[in-house]
């Protein structure tokens, strides 16, 4: 985050690219958008999103935000669905290693900059960390109101009744609020925001988080932010309050009962296991001696 002037890539980075791939003017443009986003929490700031060497939907927005804030002394962690070793995480991590030469880590505690797709790490974040989200559809009102001119006007006038219509429909059809991801939140008492496709399990972690949270949507060309220690409230009804998902099982590897669990199908006879989606959290617990039903001590 110290990169006001051009950073010098470390020796191990590929020569031939500017530090963090984007040119300095572009990074400045993105930083201006980020500053505006931080100043107006939850407001979607338009920015001139660039073509990145990856397809839309693979995190082009998050990558641009990361490229704009990364400095040569940052320690980068990249996660995809909570895991450090899935395709998207591996390729984005190697992209930044090749273009910046920064140090990377899989440990949430050691990272200064974390780019994520779909999850907030289970380990609480701290004040010296930045969390960058990859966002496919930044507009929380989009599926209710297709016109961009109208959704912008609705944000401007704080006309958010429609958001509750969506939750009403959920209860009417399913008996409870069935939205489990991209669950709308109100930021700092003003803007309604889509927290990207993170499960609603992670919504409470966004509330008053000490870390800076930045959201980048590449195809939709929007950046928004939650500054540290900002109130983030999940929308609900008085008689149907917001609740996070719960599981009957504990993690099969580390025995955790407080983390977001993935259901993994083991064979074609219906055998399944539940494991932590946050691979670093699971590792850390296992290293500390916790063993789940099907786990073995490390």
């Amino acid at each position: 985050m110290t990169a006001v002037q051009s950073e010098t890539p470390r020796a191990e980075a590929d020569s031939g690219y500017n530090f963090a791939y984007l040119d300095e003017q572009t990074k400045r443009m993105i930083r201006r958008a980020i500053l505006k986003a931080v100043a107006i929490p939850g407001y979607q700031v338009p920015f001139a999103s660039r073509e990145m060497p990856m397809p839309y939907g693979w995190g082009t927005g998050g990558v641009q935000v990361t490229a704009a804030v990364i400095g040569s002394d940052d320690v980068l962690k990249v996660i995809d669905q909570g895991s450090d070793d899935t395709t998207n995480a591996v390729s984005i991590r190697s992209f930044f290693v090749r273009t910046t030469g920064v140090e990377t880590t899989e440990k949430t505690r050691d990272a200064t900059l974390i780019q994520t797709r779909h999850r907030v790490p289970e380990t609480p974040l701290s004040e010296d960390q930045i969390l960058v989200y990859q966002v496919p559809i930044p507009e929380p009102l989009r599926f209710l109101e297709p016109r961009e001119t109208e959704t912008r006007r609705m944000h401007a006038l704080e006309d958010y009744g429609l958001m509750h219509v969506k939750l009403y429909e959920d209860i009417a059809h399913h008996g409870h609020i069935a939205t489990t991801y991209a669950y709308p939140v109100k930021v700092a008492g003003r803007y309604v925001m889509d927290p990207s496709p993170t499960p609603k399990f992670d919504n409470p972690k966004m509330n008053h988080s000490p870390a800076l949270q930045l959201f980048g949507a590449g195809r939709e060309k929007r950046i928004y932010a939650i500054p540290p220690h900002t109130e983030v409230v999940s929308l609900d009804f008085e008689d149907h309050p917001f609740e996070v998902q719960q599981w009957d099982n504990a993690c099969a590897l580390c025995g955790a009962t407080d983390s977001f669990l993935d259901e993994v199908i083991m064979d074609d006879a219906g055998k399944r296991m539940f494991v932590c989606s946050d691979s670093d959290y699971c590792e850390e617990r296992r290293a500390a001696g916790h063993v789940g039903e099907e786990g073995v001590p490390l």
Binding site: L144, R153, A156, L157, E158, D159, G161, L162, H164, V165, Y168, E169, I171, A172, H173, D236, F237, E238, D239, H240
Partner: protein
């Protein structure tokens, strides 16, 4: 007749002008509407009725003239000088707008209950049970089965869609309703039921309404007063019976005489 109503008007329009290129859609139109009164605007297609309704309801700007509305807080406010936020608030609390085509006034991918509840949620209702109870209550008021509360509007007939649109608009108990051909496109028996319903609701709620229609039968049935429009001008105004039974202006005479007697 005016003494029946409150002394000060609810809506007042003065010298409204609007052109679309060479077409003079509204030419120096002035009118008053008193609380609880139903004003019918009649005239042939293209006479400027809908344009006038859109100007009165703040949906389009006039080129000249003023539209003033008596807000709940007291005092007359210029509808076109209000901020967008204030006008929007008025639109979803104190005013109703019933479109000719219910598809324009309903959310077709949201259930009947959600449609009726939208205005309540927009003004801050956050209790699901209460919103639902109110929705059931209003569906029954417009003679719909409470059991259809979770059905989508597209599964309803045209007449039901129109009644749903009315329920959705009246749920916040507005004081003024704008209706653009509310019975257009419905068959005659459905029209008659809808008219009865509308007349009942207007009476029960003490609602004032401006009803645009080309159908003189609708105008006679619903409105207390009539304004006859032709080529953007109001050519005759008066009590409904008076205008229809003893028309003074040649155009009104033509209009009245062109109704087929069954």
């Amino acid at each position: 007749m005016k003494t029946v109503f409150s002394e000060s008007p609810l809506l007042q329009a003065e010298g409204i002008e609007k052109r679309f290129g060479r077409v003079h859609a509204c030419n120096d139109v002035s009118l008053d509407l008193y609380p609880g009164e139903v004003l019918g605007i009649v005239g042939e297609s293209g006479s400027g009725k809908t344009t006038l309704l859109n100007i009165l309801s703040g949906r389009i700007e006039p080129e000249a003239g003023v539209v003033e509305y008596a807000v709940r807080e007291g005092g007359m406010r210029d509808v076109h000088q209000m901020g967008a936020a204030e006008r929007r608030m008025l639109m979803r609390t104190d005013w109703a707008f019933v479109h000719q085509n219910p598809r324009d006034g309903l959310r077709m991918n949201v259930s009947a209950g959600g449609n009726v509840g939208e205005r309540l949620m927009a003004v801050g209702a956050r209790h699901y049970g209460q919103i639902r109870d109110t929705a059931v209550d209003w569906l029954q008021k417009v003679e719909m089965e409470a059991g259809r509360i979770d059905d989508l509007p597209r599964t309803f007939s045209g007449g039901m869609q129109q009644r749903l649109q009315i329920a959705r608009n009246l749920v916040t108990r507005p004081r003024l309703a704008f209706m653009d051909e509310p019975t257009g496109g419905l068959d005659v028996s459905v029209q008659a039921r809808l008219l009865d319903l509308l007349r009942g609701l207007v009476g029960d709620l003490g609602l004032a309404a401006i009803v645009v229609t080309h159908d003189l039968a609708v105008a006679r049935h619903l409105s207390h007063r009539l304004a006859v429009m032709r080529r953007g001008e109001v050519v005759e105004t008066g009590l409904t019976d008076q205008v229809l039974d003893d028309p003074q202006h040649p155009y009104t005479q033509l209009l009245v005489s062109s109704i087929l007697k069954a």
